[in-house]
């Protein structure tokens, strides 16, 4: 997988992750080209678009398009199900995920994606495992925060 894109129906970018080196300029160009290509496709068409020697596998969930770019001869259906797998994990994490969840918690989406894919290859195919790892990360952050606040409380009290 060369990159992952989440684009809303209005063409707003919700998440981008690049596994192949694209410069800032190229990234903008890719996003522009692909939005034009994918958002205009009607329903009931196949989930694959051929684009500049590569292939984009996409799927629409409500108002969001999930796109992943692969080589010509990669297995398209496999990637299509990676998309679905990702969505299911998001769903489980947020509890019936919607676009707003992903807008305000885009950083969470990045965490989850990092547990799912590395180097553009599937890392973990068990939803349970991913969920467990994300929960562990969250608790680490929480713990640090509590610790921090207790320290700042102590400082606050000490300096009273």
């Amino acid at each position: 997988i060369h990159f992952v894109l989440l684009i809303s129906r209005q063409g707003k970018v919700r998440l981008t992750k690049w596994y192949s080196p694209y410069s800032q300029k190229e990234r903008t160009k890719v996003i522009r080209e692909l939005s034009g290509l994918i958002l205009t496709r009607g329903p009931k068409l196949c989930n694959f678009v051929e684009w500049s020697g590569l292939k984009v596998v996409y799927k629409r969930y409500a108002s969001l398009y999930f796109c992943m770019c692969i080589n010509q001869d990669d297995n398209e259906l496999e990637v299509l199900e990676i998309i679905h797998h990702f969505v299911e994990i998001l769903d489980r994490y947020f509890g019936s995920v919607c676009e707003l969840d992903l807008i305000f918690n885009f950083h969470k989406a990045y965490y989850i994606l990092d547990e799912l894919l590395i180097a553009g290859e599937l890392q973990e195919s068990s939803k349970k495992t991913v969920a467990r790892l994300i929960a562990a990360q969250d608790s680490l952050v929480e713990a640090a925060k509590e610790q921090a606040s207790s320290i700042s409380n102590m400082i606050a009290q000490a300096t009273k």
Binding site: D73, N75, Y110, L140
Partner: protein, 1019 residues
């Protein structure tokens, strides 16, 4: 809590969302960027929390598509923060903002490495993820060993190891030369025994990358892969959480089958049988079900299984089963399956024997050409293009033509190109081909590239029978009210050449033809006007006796364009005007175009170019490319290049190469009679510049006879000859597909090796051929070292010796494949039968990827290799010298054009050959007396004596006397020494290129009057 977090960030995001338009949004973003920038400036006051918040904001802004050109440093610096929350943000944001080429990443390498080798496994995970996602060369250099250690460490938990596997995969894929995987096959095999499916999935991805590069090292993994497949397909022992809609990890199944496709074959019958059982089960057991995801997952596995079956060249029965399955798929409602059915059917075309079964589905495929989905239409077009052959070309091409008028604009160019290629390749008769191309231009003129009409003109020109038909057709199209400019070009060109063949038909007399073409002139562009002018000139010439009215009309037009601003048009107008006034003299110049040399269609080249892309190499793609190149070979015939067939070479002495080539050169000149563009300095290179060839001849600047004559002079003159031969010697022969250029000059390497016994004979990016030789009397042992410079094998290696008649050469078996980075030795035994300066040639070829390389290399088994120095005393020398009294045993020659060197240098040169210089034998200090022994089977050891007389006043000439007991030897040795003494570049060339007719019997003419010559030499 999941939705906890940073209020500031949420507020900012809401603000952005509330912006009514793009400008407001930009204002808000600019404000925020300004804010973040000032906060970052006095970093002291920033808490980690704030830093984190701002970095997130930056990422958000970046994601919206704004340039964020600062703050990278802050993101990177968070990586070395001690606490998890900051570190995590640092890693994620860095990985999103930067790519592997950013300099900032270098700053972080140390911090990242500390995390990788540290004990904190959550930190390890973060670091491995970042490196896996954006790691570049420097990371590979400093981190690869650590990552490898983590992957195989038994103390690491699966969550670290699976990340390590993919991280390593990335580093290896990007820099296979830096990551050392030698001896990793055992480790890989161990990893495949892994119980944790997460780790196994990641490891399998790694294996795919490793075997893609070099499958040879990983044979031991093959049975393990088959075991994994068995386990999964039987759903043995697969934890619930790893089944996806009831299918045991479809991703792992797909990856495993992908890995298997990189092994060329499976030899072990048991493994093969178990694998086929699994595949059979997948092929038969996959049903279409209601649940989309289950369907997709099971078909992902199914299509991968199909690919594997194709790769393994299964029995015909299984193959036809696959085709039947695909035939079912291309007719289903579900668009994804239809798409994939067509795509895989195209791949299936590469398997022999199933084409016929595929053809049965032609009707369905043509229906798919009208599918609402462009992705599917493209697949259908590709498939039709691939499956087209003589039997169905008419149907398919006509279908494509019909589709052309309704096709999307984005597809039309490709479509017309493909139709044109198919029409040419499989035309049952050429008139049909002309029909198709003209229709093509008529229907989609804008999308018909110039190459297409150039090609039809070439073919019409080369087929006399076709010319009247083409002219009639062109005339018909001109009657249409509005025609495309390309059509004007083609019809004008064709009618200019051949309209006189129609003269008897109604509406086709010169005046009428002229008027109907001239009608179009006001609407066309300059490039077309230029063609029209040529057409007029031709019409004028063909009208005999001249029609004064037509003449005046056309002259008026020429006159008008004499002041045209376009230089090309102006030149044509002026020249045609002048020429056409010359009356009969212009007939020759304006005669019909000669035939074009047969050449590969430029269209096929173009199609091939668009097909080749630069993506990662894969088994399927490699096969696909081989397939296309095969197709090309079938269609291209180019006798014009005039390579002598190899068999002929085997019989004839090598020097004849140059003769044959020169003949073909002459042919070229005659063929292209009447044109000026004949001088093609590299006759061996097929010309791609169609335009140049087609239009070039129209520009006539002088009488054709003279032009051809000057070509002859150029070629037959001494300079020309060496030049032509030089290109021959340097250009690897058979270069139709040679994209591979030799490193260094082949000629220079050969020349060096004539004087040395070891060195490099040939080198290119893929291979190096070294040589080491030993000579003993008339025997020689030559070792060829064939070294593969790559990490992939060289295949189809072939070495053939083309020996001259005086050498007996035996080459031991050359292996067909040279493994990666390996060197193969091939001994070569040589027996010298008699004296001759002819050279043996090694005809060497191999294949690397799709490049077929063929080179013909001269072997340094030259005359001087069979010489051994011998010193003779005065008492031995003089009786011998006197007893060999004159021709043909003793020959004398005056050599001019000697490269200037002192006597000592010359003596040195002789010693290298090796000849023995005997000082003091000749009383004159300006003379040299030299002796040597020559060995061959016929002459045995034979003493040769040489005397060189130089003129101190003029170092560029000398007189040489050679004597031996054998007339051929005397002559050959004399010629050999002469070659060595005249200037360097010719030395290396001569042995291979001397014309064969120079034989001892004809040569002594040069010395008919030695006395006079001596007088001239010594004044």
């Amino acid at each position: 809590m999941a939705l906890s977090g940073m209020r500031g960030l949420s507020v900012f995001i809401s603000d952005i969302r509330n912006c009514p338009n793009k400008e407001q949004e930009r204002l808000r973003v600019d404000k925020e960027l300004g804010n973040v920038r000032t906060r970052f400036k006095n970093e002291k006051g920033l808490t980690h929390y704030e830093k984190k918040k701002y970095v997130w904001k930056m990422l958000y802004i970046y994601m919206l598509g704004y340039d964020v050109d600062f703050g990278h440093m802050e993101a990177v610096s968070l990586i070395s923060a001690p606490k998890y929350p900051e570190k995590q943000v640092g890693y994620i944001v860095t990985a999103c903002l930067l790519n592997e080429n950013h300099d900032f990443l270098r700053l972080a390498i140390n911090a990242i490495r500390n995390d990788v080798i540290g004990r904190n496994e959550t930190f390890q995970c973060l670091a491995l993820t970042l490196v896996g996602n954006i790691g570049g060369r420097e990371f590979a250099e400093s981190l690869a060993p650590d990552v490898q250690k983590l992957l195989i460490s038994s103390s690491c938990r699966p969550l670290v190891r699976k990340k390590a596997a993919l991280c390593l995969l990335r580093l290896y894929r990007k820099n296979p030369d830096v990551v050392i995987v030698d001896g990793w096959s055992d480790r890989m095999a161990q990893l495949l025994d892994e119980r944790d499916l997460g780790v196994l999935t990641s490891s399998m991805s790694l294996l795919v990358a490793l075997v893609a590069n070099n499958h040879n090292a990983y044979w031991i993994c093959l049975p393990k892969c088959v075991k994994i497949l068995e386990r999964l397909s039987r759903n043995n022992d697969v934890p619930q959480e790893y089944t996806y809609y009831g299918i045991p990890s479809p991703w792992l199944q797909v990856k495993t089958m992908r890995a298997l496709q990189y092994f060329p074959t499976i030899e072990d019958p048991n493994t093969r049988r178990s694998l086929f059982e699994v595949l059979q089960r997948i092929l038969m057991g996959t049903d279409v079900v209601k649940n989309v995801n289950k369907n997709n997952a099971s078909h992902a596995v199914l299509f991968e299984a199909l690919a594997l079956v194709m790769h393994l060249d299964a029995e015909k029965e299984m193959m036809s089963q696959c085709v039947a399955l695909l035939g079912k798929f291309i007719a289903v409602r579900e668009p994804n399956i239809r798409y994939l059915g067509l795509e895989n059917m195209t791949r299936m075309l590469m398997v022999s024997d199933v084409q016929d079964i595929i053809k049965r589905h032609q009707a369905q495929i043509i229906t798919s050409l009208k599918d609402p989905d462009i992705s599917i239409r493209r697949r259908a077009l590709d498939l039709l293009y691939g499956m087209c052959d003589v039997s169905n070309a008419k149907d398919i091409v006509e279908e494509l033509l019909q589709y052309l008028s309704t096709a999307d604009f984005t597809m039309r160019e490709e479509l017309s190109l493909k139709a044109a290629i198919l029409a040419e390749k499989f035309a049952p008769d050429l008139s049909w081909y002309v029909d198709v191309i003209l229709q093509l231009i008529d229907k989609a003129g804008d999308f018909v590239s110039d190459d297409i009409w150039f090609r039809v003109v070439q073919i019409v020109t080369n087929n006399e029978d076709l010319q009247p038909y083409a002219a009639v057709k062109a005339r018909e199209y001109l009657d249409k009210p509005a025609i495309h400019e390309t059509m004007v070009k083609v019809s004008a060109y064709i009618l200019g050449e051949y309209s006189h063949l129609l003269a008897k038909r109604p509406g086709c007399n010169p005046q009428e033809i002229f008027s109907i073409i001239h009608e179009k002139l006001p609407t066309v562009s300059n490039s077309t006007i230029a063609i029209l002018l040529s057409t007029y000139a031709k019409i004028l010439m063909h009208t005999q006796p001249p029609d004064p009215q037509l003449q005046n009309q056309i002259w008026a037009i020429f006159h008008k364009y004499e002041s045209c601003i376009d230089a090309e048009i102006q030149q044509r107008a002026v020249e045609y005007f002048t020429l056409s006034r010359k009356g009969a003299a212009s007939v020759d110049i304006m005669a019909e175009m000669p035939k074009f040399p047969e050449r590969q269609s430029a269209l096929l080249k173009k199609a091939e170019d668009t097909e080749a892309d630069t993506a990662e190499q894969s088994a399927i793609k490699l096969r696909a490319q081989q397939q296309t190149s095969n197709a090309l070979v079938v269609t291209d015939q180019h006798p014009a290049n005039g390579y002598p067939p190899v068999s002929q070479l085997g019989l004839v002495k090598v020097p004849s190469i140059s003769t044959v080539d020169r003949n073909s050169e002459d042919q070229g000149v005659t063929q292209a009679n009447g044109t000026l563009s004949v001088v093609d300095p590299q006759p061996l290179e097929p010309s791609v510049d169609v335009l140049g060839d087609l239009l070039g001849p129209l520009r006539i600047d002088g009488p054709p006879g003279a032009a051809a004559q000057s070509d002859h002079n150029l070629i037959s003159g001494p300079e020309g000859a060496t030049y032509v031969e030089e290109t021959l010697a340097l250009a690897p022969v058979g270069d139709q597909t040679n994209n591979v250029q030799p490193i260094g000059s082949i000629a220079e390497r050969f020349q060096d090796l004539c004087l040395k016994d070891s060195g490099v004979l040939y080198e290119d990016p893929y291979i190096q051929i070294g040589i080491k030789a030993e000579w003993r009397a008339h025997h020689g042992l030559l070792l060829l070292f064939l070294g593969n410079k790559n990490t992939a094998p060289l295949v189809s290696v072939q070495a053939l010796i083309l020996p001259p008649s005086h050498l007996k050469i035996e080459l031991s078996l050359v292996p067909e494949t040279i493994p990666p980075r390996a060197q193969v030795q091939c001994p070569l035994e040589i027996i010298n039968l008699g004296p001759s300066r002819d050279v043996a040639v090694l005809d060497f070829s191999y294949k690397f990827g799709t490049d077929v390389v063929n080179v013909k290399l001269r072997l340094p088994a030259v005359l001087n290799k069979f010489l051994q120095p011998i010193s003779v005393s005065a008492e031995e020398f003089f009786p011998q010298w006197r007893s060999l009294s004159g021709p043909p045993l003793k020959l004398q020659d005056v050599v001019r054009g000697v490269r200037p060197m002192s006597l000592a240098e010359m003596a040195n040169l002789f010693t290298i050959f090796p000849l023995t210089v005997s000082p003091g034998l000749d009383p004159n200090a300006n003379n040299l007396v030299v002796s040597t022994t020559f060995y061959s089977e016929r002459t045995r050891a034979m003493l040769c004596l040489v005397r060189i007389e130089t003129d101190p006043a003029d170092r560029t000439q000398l007189r040489m006397t050679v004597a031996s007991g054998d007339p051929t030897l005397t002559f050959e040795l004399k010629e050999f020494l002469k070659e060595q003494l005249v200037s360097i570049p010719t030395i290396s060339q001569r042995p291979a290129t001397a014309p064969p007719q120079v034989q001892p019997t004809t040569s002594p003419t040069a010395l008919s009057d030695p006395g006079a010559m001596l007088a001239g030499l010594l004044h």
